[in-house]
Each structure stands twice: as structure tokens, then as C-alpha cells.
């Protein structure tokens, strides 16, 4: 899985060798689960959901240079919206719950973005964190919202697709999430390759220069922030479908931190990087939890620290470079 996706950024130059990683990724993503037990299919599903969440954060973190410590808040809004609609109001349709979750998260990001983008740098980290803690305390304490306190919302089912006679099984749900992942990936790919995406990267490199060029940088950052919130909300929707439960901790700082870990481990400022990061962390957690569950935070923290110190560009770009060398290709990715 880690090597599965690192070719996807390729821009269609029809070089068979160049496409090989993409093909390998497709085969692994599409074919592998057929031969795996259902609990491993579940692991791959969780990895994909995490990957969507991490990519959404990378839009503002890697591409725009805004370090949010509260991105899990929008995942939480998406998840809780689905939870409330399903468990409290009995609405099970995909076509109602998913758009509602995404819209609620985007709305949350639209409001909080107005506040957070008044600041930058370390203050931006502080305030994004604070705003998400606000949501966390609401989910935890406001009984009248029926968010269920510490227990969260249980009894969330997989969505009703509106197809008569359709029944979910883990494999079908995996393919559903895979499809969702592809859609998100393609949309975000076209966003990051559009003039808008290039402007975001310009802001990351030098915001005042972009202002001098006449860009309304605030607006660009704001749109990116809301867009990232919407995609995080979609990840939250899938998260709720997949786990069947949402709890306040799902929007805690550890969740936001995990997404940052995945991005940095995989490769900041790329789309395939967070996917590789999510897969690596998912598998690593799986094995460590088998050997010494209580030591997982230690391992994760160490991997994170070492990555920042010694491999800041992340796994995926390094692998890509090696691959290019091995297959005799030149030029930057």
C-alpha cells in the first residue's frame, strides 16, 4: 500500500514506466481487498477515510502554508451531522446525510475562517485549536443538542443508497469509500493545478509578493480554508458511516495532529503524500497495536520527530525520486 499511490501525480505523459506506480496503485486498491479478510478490508477503508481527511488538511497546510491545529473540528461537524440525522431523526439516505454533513462542515469553516484568518503563524495555530475546542466542548456538554456527551452518538448505520434490495457488506463499503476517495482526489487535483491552486502556493512562498501582484490573498486563503473544511466534513461523513459512532475525541487535538503526521510523513504539499502517510501510519499502528498497544503513541511520536528532523520532504517524494532514477526518467516531479 505505501508504494501504491506515489505515481498518481504523473501528468499523463504516456510513458509506461512512469505509469507503472499508478497501475500498481490501482491494482492494489481495486484488486487486493478481494483476497483479504473483512477486518483487513475495514483497515483499508479506515486508511482511505484518513487519507481524505489528511489531503483536505494538506490543501491549507502544505499548499497554502497555514498550520491548523483544529482541522479535526470539521471532520467532527461532518460526523456529528450524520450521527444526529441518522440516530436521532431516522434519516438514513446517503443523498441527504452526506450533503448535510459536508454543508455543515463548510458552514463551520466559513464562520471560523473569518475569525482564524485574522491571524497568522503561531497565533493561527492557537486560534484554530481554540475554535475546535469550542466545538469539542459543545459536543461534550450541550445536552439539548443530543450529542450524547462522552458517549457520543452510537447506532450510526451505513447509508441508504436508495437502491431497492441493496445490502452492504465490508467489501462493497470499501469500494464505496474508494470511489469517494477517487472523486475527492480528482477534485482536489484539479483545484491544486488550477490558477487558484498556484496562487495558494504563491501565498505559501511569499504572501506579500502576491499582494503586490494584486492578489486578494485573504480571499484566496479563506476559500481554501472553507474548501478544506468541506472535504474534512466529507471525511467525517464517511468516518461516521464506517465506524458507526462519533465521540468528542474524534475532533480532539490528537485527531488533528494525526492528520499533520500523515502529511509530513508522506510528503507535505502533495496530494499523493498524505495518502502514502495515511497508509503507512495505518499499517504501522496496526502492527504496533498487535505487539505493544500501550506503546503506540511512543512509536508514532518518535517516527514523527525523526521524520521532521531527517526526512522533511516525506516518504513519497523520496520514493518517487528513487523510482525515477531507477527507471531512467529526468526532471522534477
Amino acid at each position: 500500500m505505501p508504494s501504491a499511490h506515489h505515481g498518481r501525480e504523473g501528468n499523463g505523459r504516456s510513458h509506461l514506466l512512469r505509469l507503472l506506480p499508478v497501475l500498481a496503485g490501482l491494482v492494489a486498491g481495486l484488486g487486493l481487498p478481494l483476497f483479504l479478510p473483512s477486518w483487513l478490508q475495514g483497515l483499508m477503508t479506515r486508511i482511505l477515510v484518513n487519507a481524505i481527511f489528511a489531503i483536505s488538511l494538506d490543501l491549507i497546510f502544505g499548499y497554502t502554508g497555514l498550520v491548523s491545529l483544529g482541522h479535526a473540528g470539521y471532520l467532527g461537524i461532518g460526523g456529528y451531522t450524520v450521527g444526529l440525522l441518522m440516530a436521532r431523526y431516522g434519516l438514513r439516505s446517503l443523498w441527504i446525510t452526506a450533503p448535510a454533513g459536508v454543508f455543515a462542515a463548510a458552514l463551520g469553516a466559513a464562520v471560523f475562517g473569518l475569525i482564524a484568518l485574522r491571524t497568522s503563524g503561531a497565533s493561527f495555530m492557537l486560534i484554530t485549536f481554540a475554535l475546535t475546542q469550542l466545538l469539542y466542548s459543545v459536543a461534550l456538554k450541550w445536552d439539548w443538542l443530543t450529542t450524547g456527551g462522552t458517549e457520543g452518538i452510537t447506532g450510526i448505520a451505513r447509508p441508504d443508497l436508495g437502491i431497492a434490495g441493496f445490502r452492504w457488506n465490508p467489501l462493497l463499503f470499501y469500494y464505496f469509500v474508494l470511489l469517494a476517495f477517487f472523486l475527492c482526489y480528482l477534485v482536489l487535483r484539479s483545484v491544486t493545478r488550477s490558477p487558484f491552486g498556484h496562487a495558494l502556493q504563491g501565498i505559501r512562498e511569499n504572501e506579500s509578493r502576491m499582494q503586490c501582484l494584486g492578489y486578494n490573498t485573504w480571499l484566496y486563503k479563506y476559500i481554501a480554508f472553507v474548501l478544506a473544511g468541506a472535504f474534512a466534513g466529507f471525511a467525517g461523513v464517511l468516518f461516521a458511516y464506517s465506524n458507526g459512532i462519533v465521540v468528542p475525541a474524534n475532533m480532539g487535538i490528537v485527531m488533528s495532529g494525526n492528520a499533520l503526521f500523515m502529511i509530513i510523513l508522506g510528503g507535505t504539499g502533495t496530494l499523493y503524500g498524505p495518502v502514502v502517510g495515511a497508509a503507512t501510519i495505518g499499517l504501522l499502528q496496526f502492527y504496533v497495536s498487535d505487539l505493544a498497544p500501550a506503546r503506540w503513541p511512543l512509536v508514532m511520536g518518535l517516527v514523527f520527530v525523526l521524520t521532521i528532523l531527517y526526512a522533511r520532504s516525506g516518504i513519497a517524494p523520496s520514493l518517487l525520486k528513487i523510482w525515477k532514477k531507477a527507471s531512467g526518467q529526468h526532471g522534477s516531479p
Partner: protein, 286 residues
């Protein structure tokens, strides 16, 4: 009325614990631009060390507090020189590194001391209670407030009235200029970082008398300390003090009176203040 007084006293002593933690966090962030996400983890180490030395080994309280401060300060030296220094001027990376480090430290703490929280202890010298009208209030809480108040004055004096403090304040405003004047900014940063995390370890021991010691504390107190510096403003002792007292009072009174809104009011207060004054109540204007 009596319960209100009780809440208020609890709020003040909790506020001083927060102050000791947040003031280090604030000055480190002001001078070095690093939001030290490992601050709460170092507080936790201090609390565990304090608990072991005082409650288990029966060591003198002051020796234990100084010992914990020394241990965390030495750790801080290692973190600053060994890790942050490798990421020269990469502020985002430094914050993320500290974040990763907090997971390592908290889990190491859990490995050494186990996952079971330790109850608050009282050093023999501070046992007993003070009678205020009809209520008896534990002496140790007054001791916490006294130590906090004493250190608040000391830190204010250090930062505002001494040459070292003047250098630190100058560094917050313009580090290039300061370095250009021949001041060794790197050594200054190391000293400030050691002082800040030393205070975190120290406050861990002080705080363990009211809050006990547990791994969960690392995160919750880190979050509250961050709230405090957002409210009070980055880079000043007075700001940390005002923010800590406000949060100490809001948190304690909220918890006992309006449990539904306790956390919410804390964070709402922070958001409102950020909206009105983005630099915090007493922050240094840039």
C-alpha cells in the same frame, strides 16, 4: 456565599498553577516564535517526579520542586540544542516537532509511572487548614497561591527590571537587531527555553498538590495554558498572570456552578478576546 468563596479560592490557586506553566510558554513563544506543544508533557513529568520524591521517598518538598525543575530544565537544554537547533528558523517544523515529542514524553511517563492517576499529595509541612469564618480551607492551597504570587513578582522583575530581561524583550521585538548589537541570541534562547520548561517542571510539583499526577493532565493543562496565553497575550508576565487568573476562576467556578457550560465559557472567552484584541489583553503589540 461560603461555597462561592471556596470556588474563588480554588480558582485562585488553580490560576497560579496555570500561571507558572503559561508564563514559560508565553515567553518562549514571544522570544523564539515556538509554540511549545511539549510544555504540558514537561509539566506532567514534573508532577510525577514530585509525587515520587515527596509522597514516595519522603523528600523535602522544596528539594523535590527544585529537583524537578532542574531535571526538566536539563531536558529542555537537550530539546533546544539537540532538536530545535537543527530546525533553525523553521518555526512550523519546530512546533510540530514539539507536538511529536509530547506524545513520546507522555507515553514514556505512562511507561514509567503506569496509567493510574496519582492522587494529590500534601507535603507534611503544609498539612492542616486555615479557618476563614465558618469554613476551613486547606493550607496547601494558600501555599500554592503564595509560591505563585512570589514567582510572579520575581519573573516580572526579571523580565522588566534586569538587563537579561531587557535583552529578552528586545529579542521579542527584533532579534536581528539584537544579534547585530553583538548579543548571543542563541545562548539567550537556550537560557529562556530552559527557564520556561524548568518552570513547567516546577509548577508540576506545585500543581500535583492540588491536581495530582496523571498522563491525561499533560494534554488538558497544555490546552488550558494555550488558552491563557491567547487571552493574556504572548510575551509578558502580566498577560500570563491576568489570563491565568481569569481562566482559573472561570474554569473552577464554571465547573462547580454551570457544568454544562464550563469548558464552553473558557473557550468562548478566548474567542471573544481574540476577536476584540487579536494580540490578547496585555500582549506585546508588534
Amino acid at each position: 456565599m461560603n461555597t462561592f468563596l471556596l470556588d474563588l479560592l480554588n480558582g485562585i490557586s488553580f490560576g497560579f498553577i496555570l500561571f507558572l506553566l503559561a508564563t514559560g510558554l508565553s515567553i518562549i513563544m514571544g522570544l523564539m516564535g515556538i509554540l511549545n506543544m511539549a510544555h504540558g508533557a514537561l509539566y506532567m513529568l514534573g508532577a510525577f517526579i514530585g509525587w515520587t520524591l515527596v509522597a514516595q521517598c519522603g523528600l523535602d518538598f522544596w528539594l523535590a520542586a527544585l529537583g524537578a525543575a532542574l531535571i526538566t530544565a536539563v531536558l529542555g537544554f537537550g530539546i533546544e540544542r539537540g532538536l530545535f537547533r537543527r530546525l533553525y528558523r523553521q518555526y512550523t517544523e519546530q512546533v510540530l516537532l514539539a507536538f511529536g515529542l509530547s506524545f513520546v514524553l507522555v507515553n514514556l511517563g505512562e511507561w514509567i509511572w503506569g496509567p493510574i492517576p496519582r492522587a494529590p499529595f500534601t507535603a507534611p509541612a503544609f498539612s492542616g487548614s486555615v479557618h476563614l469564618g465558618s469554613i476551613a480551607y486547606p493550607t496547601v492551597r494558600f501555599v500554592i497561591a503564595l509560591i505563585g504570587g512570589f514567582l510572579a513578582v520575581g519573573l516580572w522583575w526579571l523580565l522588566e527590571k534586569t538587563r537579561l530581561g531587557a535583552l529578552v524583550r528586545a529579542g521579542m521585538d527584533d532579534k536581528e537587531m539584537l544579534a547585530g548589537l553583538g548579543v548571543d541570541f542563541d545562548r539567550l534562547s537556550t537560557a529562556v527555553f530552559m527557564l520556561g520548561v524548568g518552570l513547567a517542571g516546577f509548577s508540576g510539583v506545585i500543581g500535583a498538590q492540588a491536581l495530582g499526577a496523571s498522563t491525561g493532565l499533560a494534554q488538558s493543562i497544555q490546552l488550558l495554558a494555550m488558552v491563557v496565553i491567547v487571552i493574556g497575550g504572548v510575551g509578558s508576565v502580566q498577560g500570563a498572570l491576568v489570563g491565568a487568573m481569569l481562566i482559573g476562576a472561570i474554569d473552577t467556578i464554571g465547573r462547580s456552578r454551570f457544568p454544562q457550560f464550563a469548558l464552553f465559557t473558557t473557550y468562548l472567552a478566548m474567542v471573544v478576546i481574540l476577536l476584540v484584541r487579536p494580540a490578547g489583553l496585555l500582549g506585546r503589540e508588534k
